[in-house]
Symmetry: C2
Subunit: 123 residues, 2 copies
């Protein structure tokens, strides 16, 4: 068996609310994270919410990175989904943790698309 | 305790490779899914890969939807991340399953951002 995709889910608690509400900082963090992983950014979409909160997605040649922040709760949820062996999603996770400085965090790793090595599509 | 976000992870196996490689079909599927959930689409980014495969993200006012397809393996991985009680991510999942017609699928539901109801950010 092999996994087509690696998916890291980051739960970031007790971050600085000011950082979580700073769209420029969040965007820069995600771009630096993607670069650290060795990913190729193809597209991006970041949004500032009122009264607070930021959402952002990066589509990369190797899948995606996303982040959603709740400054009022000091919480951010980030996802890093990659495929292939060249890109290192753990490096992106390290950057996000280092930049957002959560007091506590959780990192869940999931294998996506488990297939038999010689499995081909039908049809 | 309450969850700030609901995250549905969809594993779609043995889909029709032609559908999985059709960027227009995949984009339409995701937009219909977002609408079915009652989500407000703020941005989108879809990409066709060579020799095959499609990636797409929708950023919504309530978080995001993503999909990545591997036509050569008949597999697609989709994620639906929403916040608030008004939007129904399960409806989006139903649409994606109905349109992509996987022979088998798995649906994993995760609570993201578990907080105490009265928890406020420090700082």
């Amino acid at each position: 068996m092999k996994a087509l995709g690696k998916h890291l889910l980051l739960e970031l608690n007790d971050c600085d609310p000011k950082l979580l509400n700073d769209i420029s900082f969040i965007k820069e963090t995600m771009l630096v994270a993607a670069k650290a992983a060795g990913a190729t950014v193809l597209g991006e979409s970041f949004h500032q919410f009122s009264p607070q909160g930021v959402s952002g997605v990066l589509i990369i040649a190797e899948s995606h990175l996303t982040i959603h922040t709740w400054p009022e709760h000091g919480y951010a949820g980030a996802d890093i989904f990659t495929c292939g062996t060249r890109v290192k999603p753990e490096k992106a996770a390290e950057v996000i943790i280092e930049k957002l400085k959560p007091v506590t965090h959780a990192l869940i790793k999931l294998d996506r698309g488990m297939i038999n090595k010689n499995q081909k599509a039908k049809g």
